[in-house]
């Protein structure tokens, strides 16, 4: 069927901030959808609250709204833009939930907006577990035994019928919030209550545990002619019981016979038809009993998902793009497969390699949280690796994770691990289980035994045993011959052993081994990802490395050169898996680098290993290499591509950490020199440099030993800010108030910084922190954005809210900041982007940190000011000058506020207080003509919507008590009832504020915790007292999270909130597109 002509303007809802369970993949799908729909001539209106996305670039959609994704705001956008349709299936669970809310509140009907892609009944049928269960049973498919409960009585009844262990799942949540495996009655009460609370419809499913069964996923697409194809099958290495986002997964499926696989395929077809997803992609999960093959349906997502992004990258089949085209009327056979150009999209990709996805965890950031995996997702990122064999792909994935492993290696001596620990780590899924499989095998456990304990299929374990046995053979060969033969090295490379691993075996350096390997004639070859296992000629240069006989990238390069003439090449190194501190912002920058280089006529080469991203879309650059970001893997690409320049500034710390070695290997790095990068990172050199410029910095020093550290700290005086060098996201950074804490810090920091010194700075208390992003071309400097933090210095810049333009800093200080920025940029000979953090106290402007690279705030600055900062800076790196660009220099008339989004609800038991170590996973932006409205919007975007009436609880530390009086009065004026604990109440009462006294936790019948549980409190303002945060306050903050009560932990945050309440109570909301703001 040709495209629909009854619709012209389409509203797309994005997925909001990056949170656990919802990451860059929806920027990828949304961006693809925008492009596809506009290509087809539709006008696209986009709403998303996340500024760090490519989809919110003003060029991506016709109209771009960075606004909260709530029905109230969406209705305002609908009123203004009058779209004909809304496409809800490409913005993750958030986008889908927003569309459901719009429908259920009658807003879509009122404004005559159609739902395309999936209609309301379909979404309900797939998402609502009871509906879904009925649908599955209707078509004769099997399900785990289960029952629904809407209250605790029903829950207990169901639990008795099903028996333990069982699983609790909460309806309408993402990433499995509020769910878990329950093995005992004690746990059941707690988990069931949590599940009921976190479901927006207070519904939980109590289900037979099929823990340990094999888990599979199929990515399905259907068009309006009822054609259905399976894009990809995925088998999970971690069996049922671990959230699929936390599992190591493999594509295609490995251990089903064709008959069994077809049975699963048939079930998927029947299910998508029964649910009635008219057009687009869906993801269906199955579990299979390894004993007898019984297959049960687990769940279905009637939208593109994290797995569909993975499937797209794993096969080359762009699911989101096609889903968008299907939603406007096309059928699969009317869409061309971009890759082969001659075959239609109505086919099933077949692949001739093995894909392994591995999740990246971040338990080290939340030391109080247990490293145990379950049905609730906890990973913050992932890496994907492609190899010709599972062994190769697995080892590539493990080194691509950047967690200090260089393959399936040994980080610890297996002999030192007690057997009980191995048993426990195998049995209880956790972030490092894959390595415990190896340790177990090394300690002599058999494949079958490991499988029995871990429930991981023998197929996977046996491959790992092969790797281990081969490793033993290699060590024996080295023992005997002091060397490895060419055949052995070749075999090792085919099985994915890294140069670093082999160099370690041979006791030589990695570059030495690399040379030896190349001298032996063993070099990586690159194969194409083409959707069809080479059956048809492919036109998309999307490659992975392996050790085979034919290199297709060389062949294709020759063809391209012959066709287009030899062009200059720029290679861009991406950021690898997302992690806290290094996420979508850097992918945004890498994409802009690619766009910029394309505009300048370069051939662009992208290297990245993160399947969620826009950068790994084969459309983003001219050539895509899906490879780990290690020295070896990057050099292998350099060897075949011979780029004229490599950009290492844009992918975060990952490529920056490679810069020095790449330069030593003769790789041409463009932009700021490696020496300048070192000058900024090397504390001693940097101090000298800053002193020479006459800029103030807090007293500081660095240390490589414990004694030295103590000496430095004593001479500077406590409190100090201590941290390891060469890390991102404030990893292990801490404000230390005494010597004892410093000693324990050093222990932790040693592991993180891997030989680099520990940095110790005087901590400037009560200072205002300012972030500056600037571009320098070596001669001139452009200050792109000055951001004032709302929270005081001491809270990681990635976690604090910040504002453009700065609302409280004087013109005089701003001028000094500009001057310092200029001096530093020119002094460091920066070419490209630079970020500086300042602390302002009184008239002092201290410099905290300089990073001569793209920073996390670059996309925010670009969105706030309308200057495509990353794109301009990339062009400057290859020789353009600032004077070549038209830059908007004047301060914008609107306020933009970046607020962070924190993952605390995922890690039970973790305190939510902010500090110098970054903990947020994502960010949102509030934009408005007034500061108050912008802040209020940012809070709503962050899911911390402020209450407009009700009761506010106040409890502040002694230093803040004086400052709270005026704030409390203001709140009283706005009509709020106030409650406070004894100390705070006393101060407020003596200043004439009416306040109700609340007992501390555990001190009375109506204590704080009970009030929270009974939803008697609507907002909490609680500033903890220094290091000694009291345990009852901690319990209170944890309870607040559980009951979804906004909780403000800084005085500055509280003030911003009061401002916001003031504005929103008095004026109401307005929405405005970026395109309009930029015109103003």
């Amino acid at each position: 069927m040709p495209k629909r002509t009854d619709i012209h303007k389409i509203l797309l809802i994005g997925s909001g901030p990056i949170v656990i369970g919802q990451a860059c993949e929806f920027d990828y799908s949304g961006t693809q959808a925008c492009k596809a729909l506009r290509q087809e001539g539709f006008e696209v209106v986009l709403v998303n609250s996340n500024p760090a996305t490519i989809m919110t670039d003003p060029e991506t959609a016709d109209r771009t709204y960075i606004e909260p994704l709530t029905p109230e705001f969406l209705e305002k956008v609908i009123e203004k833009e009058k779209p004909d349709a809304v496409l809800p299936t490409l913005g993750g669970q958030t986008g889908l939930n927003a569309a459901i809310a719009l429908y259920e509140q009658g807003i879509l009907q009122k404004h005559n907006v159609k739902l395309i892609g999936a209609d309301y009944d379909v979404i309900k049928k797939a998402e609502d577990r009871e509906h879904f269960k009925k649908a599955v049973q209707k078509i004769g498919l099997d399900l785990p035994r289960s029952a629904f409960a809407y209250n605790m009585d029903e829950a207990w009844k169901a639990a008795e019928e099903i028996g333990f262990p069982l699983i609790i799942r909460s309806s309408f949540t993402l990433g499995g919030t509020g769910g878990g495996i329950v093995r005992s009655k004690e746990d059941f009460a707690r988990m069931a209550e949590l599940g009921l609370a976190s479901s927006i419809i207070h519904e939980i499913l109590i289900e037979e545990s099929i823990e340990g069964w094999k888990e599979f996923e199929l990515e399905v697409m259907r068009d309006n002619k009822d054609n259905v194809v399976i894009v990809c099958s995925i088998e999970n290495l971690d069996p049922m019981g671990v959230h699929t986002g936390d599992s190591i997964t493999v594509a295609p499926q490995q251990t089903l016979t064709d008959a069994e696989y077809q049975n699963m395929r048939n079930a998927s077809l029947a299910l998508i038809r029964e649910i009635g997803v008219e057009t687009g992609g869906s993801n269906i999960q199955f579990a299979v009993d390894p004993q007898n093959g019984r297959m049960v349906v687990i769940e279905m997502n009637p939208r593109v998902s994290r797995s569909s992004a993975l499937a797209s990258k794993a096969t080359g089949f762009p699911i989101a793009k096609f889903a968008a085209k299907l939603s406007v009327g096309y059928s699969l056979d009317e869409i061309q497969n971009d890759i082969t150009r001659e075959t239609p999209a109505s086919f099933e990709p077949t692949i001739d390699y093995c894909v392994v996805k591995a999740p990246r965890f971040t338990f080290e950031k939340f030391p109080e949280a247990q490293d145990v995996l379950g049905v609730q997702m906890k990973s913050v990122g992932e890496t994907m690796a492609i190899g010709r064999t599972f062994k190769e792909a697995l080892q590539k994935a493990l080194r691509g994770l950047e967690i200090g492993h260089i393959g399936l290696d040994n980080k610890v001596n297996f002999q030192d691990i007690p057997d009980e620990k191995i048993q426990k780590r195998l049995m209880e899924p956790n972030a490092s289980r894959i390595f415990y499989v190896k340790y177990a095998l090394q300690k002599g456990m058999s494949v079958e035994e490991v499988a029995r304990v871990s429930k991981i299929d023998v197929w996977f374990i046996a491959h790992m045993e092969q790797l281990l046995n081969f490793e033993k053979e290699m060590l024996a060969e080295i023992e005997q011959n002091k060397d490895l033969s060419k055949e052995t090295v070749r075999q090792a490379k085919e099985w994915g052993f890294s140069d670093a691993q082999l160099a370690k075996f041979l006791n030589m350096s990695e570059p030495q081994f690399r040379k030896k390997r190349k001298d032996l004639g063993i070099v990586a070859t690159f194969k194409q990802v083409d959707t069809c296992a080479a059956e048809f000629e492919a036109y998309t240069p999307y490659y992975y490395s392996t050790y085979e006989t034919e290199d297709e990238s060389v062949i294709e390069n020759r063809k391209m050169d012959a066709k287009l003439g030899k062009r200059k090449k720029i290679m861009i190194l991406g950021g690898g898996p997302n992690r806290i501190g290094q996420g979508i912002e850097f992918d945004y920058c890498c994409c802009h680098a690619a766009f910029a280089m394309k505009e300048l006529g370069y051939e662009t080469i992208m290297v990245n290993s993160n399947p969620e991203t826009v950068s790994t879309d084969y459309d983003t650059s001219d050539r895509l290499y899906f490879e780990p970001l290690t020295f070896e893997d990057v050099m292998n690409i350099v060897d075949v591509e011979k780029p004229d320049g490599v950009i290492v500034q844009y992918g975060g710390q990952t490529p920056l950490n490679l810069a020095q070695r790449l330069e030593q290997a003769g790789v041409p790095i463009v932009g700021t020199s490696v020496d300048s990068i070192d000058l900024a990172e090397n504390r001693e050199r940097f101090s000298k440099f800053i002193t020479k410029l006459g800029i103030e910095q807090p007293a500081n020093g660095s240390a490589i030993s414990t004694e030295e550290a103590l000496k430095v700290a004593r001479s500077i005086g406590f409190p100090v800010l201590a941290r390891p060098s060469y890390v991102l996201g404030g990893r292990a950074m801490k404000i230390v108030y005494d010597e004892k804490t410093l000693l324990s810090f050093i222990d932790e920091a040693k592991e993180v910084s891997q030989g680099h010194p520990i940095l110790i700075d005087k901590f400037v208390e009560e200072a205002v922190e300012v972030d500056v992003d600037a571009i320098c071309d070596g001669e001139d400097v452009f200050v792109a954005g000055i951001m004032e933090h709302i929270e005081n210095a001491g809270i990681h810049s990635g976690d604090s809210a910040c504002v453009i333009p700065p609302p409280t800093i004087s013109e005089h200080v701003i001028e000094r900041i500009r001057q310092h920025t200029r001096d530093i940029a020119l002094g460091l000979k920066v070419v490209g982007l630079m970020n500086i953090q300042y602390a302002i106290k009184g008239s002092h402007v201290y410099i905290l940190e300089v990073n001569p690279r793209a920073s996390r705030t670059v996309p925010f600055v670009a969105k706030a000011t309308g200057n495509p900062v990353a794109r301009i800076a990339a062009k400057i790196m290859v020789g353009k000058k600032l004077s070549d660009f038209e830059l908007k220099r004047e301060d914008p008339r609107h306020f933009s506020i970046k607020e962070s989004v924190l993952p605390f609800s995922r890690f039970s038991g973790v305190d939510i207080v902010l500090g110098p170590e970054m903990k947020s996973t994502g960010e949102v932006m509030g934009i408005a003509l007034s500061y108050g409205e912008a802040f209020a919007k940012s809070q709503i975007c962050a899911g911390q919507g402020l209450p407009l009436k009700g009761t506010i609880f106040l409890s502040v530390n002694d230093e803040d008590k004086r400052h709270i009086i005026f704030l409390a009065k203001k709140l009283e004026d706005l009509g709020f009832a106030l409650m406070a604990t004894k100390g705070t109440a006393k101060v407020l009462r003596s200043n004439g504020v009416k306040v109700k006294l609340v007992e501390k936790c555990g001190e009375g019948r109506k204590d704080l915790l009970k009030l929270i549980e009974e939803d008697k409190i609507d907002l909490i303002i609680n500033t903890p007292s220094g290091e000694r945060s009291q345990s009852d306050m901690r319990a209170m903050r944890a309870a607040a999270i559980l009951h979804n009560i906004p909780c403000i932990t800084t005085l500055q945050g509280a003030w911003a909130a009061v401002n916001a309440l003031d504005v929103s109570l008095k004026n109401g909301w307005s929405v405005c597109s970026l395109q309009e703001y930029y015109k103003k």
Partner: protein, 368 residues
């Protein structure tokens, strides 16, 4: 494990290591892009005379079992893969693939850059090859190549057919009283075709290719089925002639080679495709309801679209990848045949409705 060479007729060599079976073998080398179903592929009689390369690199993952077989034996002349699995996993597995291949003495080679080989075949076309562990010298292999027969004109059907007629009974409720009796001309029939007929309540009277139309009619069948099979359809005139005789006398259904035989019997021509269709992901459009099915395919020859008399014959199925014929129907008589494999095994089941169509045809003609 012994080093082996795969020597192609254009002189290109690929190297790998054999499993237990060593020596020398030859045949036409083709690639199959299905990611699962190696056991069905190995036992499919249509692969007689051919060396099969699997494009999926990991083969043997789920072992082999006693039920997923398409005939009584292994028919490929050689089997080329990237890596054989050393430790399979599946609850139905009764044996490892490696043991199975060794038991059937298949020249099976691993360590091949199967993607490079596939790209080569895609560009140059399917060609003959010799696999050898004895003779690794390209010059002498070039000499030997001269004696390797071409697929064109070769009658491989006679190598794989049943020696004498047999009955495949109906199943389930129709076990004792079959709804229909289907005469199956065995050109190398896949068991799954017979299994599906049986499941649908038909008993199959299987007769070897070469059986005359008169002999077939003696079984009093309700319909005639012409099976899949190996090689060049032009090399089996003895089946084509009998199919011709059946036109207008019986409802006829053909699959794969059966489709080519019907095409020839109805006056058309066949030609050899460059590298054939061998896989489980081919989109086929059924023009009758505009629906697309993902189909299993395995053929090197094809009916020429222009050679058919459009007055008499309607093209009902087309391959959307290359627009070749995937199915025809007679406008006057209850006759149709398809080039793809609705019985799948391996591959998707999207086209299985075609069997039910045949049941309907038989029912209609019985009523008349």
């Amino acid at each position: 494990m012994k080093n082996a060479v795969v020597y192609l007729e254009d002189g290109t060599c690929y190297y790998g290591q054999t499993l237990a079976t060593t020596g020398e073998t030859s045949g036409e080398v083709v690639f199959n892009t299905a990611m699962s179903g190696y056991q069905e592929i190995l036992t499919d009689p249509s692969y007689a005379g051919q060396i099969v390369t699997m494009t999926y690199p990991l083969i043997g993952n789920y072992g082999v079992n006693e039920t997923d077989v398409e005939s009584g034996g292994v028919h490929v002349k050689g089997f080329l893969v990237k890596e054989f699995c050393r430790y399979h996993s599946n609850f139905r597995a009764t044996e490892s693939l490696i043991d199975y291949l060794n038991r059937y003495k298949v020249m099976a080679v691993e360590g091949i850059d199967t993607r490079a080989l596939t790209r080569h075949l895609r560009e140059r076309g399917a060609m003959r090859a010799i696999i050898s562990t004895e003779d690794l010298d390209p010059k002498s292999l070039a000499q030997k190549m001269k004696k390797v027969p071409s697929m064109e004109g070769a009658d491989w059907v006679k190598e794989v057919i049943c020696k004498k007629p047999y009955l495949w009974p109906a199943e389930g409720e129709f076990k004792d009283r079959p709804r229909f009796r289907v005469a199956v001309i065995d050109c190398g029939v896949k068991f799954n075709i017979l299994r599906i007929f049986a499941r649908l309540g038909c008993e199959c009277q299987v007769v070897p290719a070469g059986t005359t139309f008169e002999e077939i009619m003696a079984y009093k069948p309700d319909g005639l089925f012409i099976s899949n099979g190996p090689g060049d359809p032009a090399a089996v005139p003895y089946v084509i002639s009998e199919a011709k005789k059946a036109v207008g006398k019986l409802p006829i259904f053909g699959i794969c080679l059966g489709n080519q035989i019907m095409g020839l019997a109805l006056g058309g021509r066949t030609f050899k495709l460059k590298f054939g269709h061998h896989g489980a992901n081919h989109p086929v459009l059924d023009s009758r309801d505009e629906r697309i099915g993902i189909t299993s395919q395995n053929h090197g020859f094809c009916v020429d679209i222009d050679s058919l008399d459009k007055e008499q014959i309607e093209i009902i199925n087309k391959n959307l990848n290359d627009q070749t014929i995937e199915g025809i129907r007679h406008k006057k008589f209850p006759i149709y045949s398809v080039q793809h494999h609705p019985e799948a095994a391996p591959g998707p089941h999207d086209a299985q409705y075609l069997f039910e169509d045949f049941i309907k045809l038989m029912a209609e003609s019985k009523r008349r």
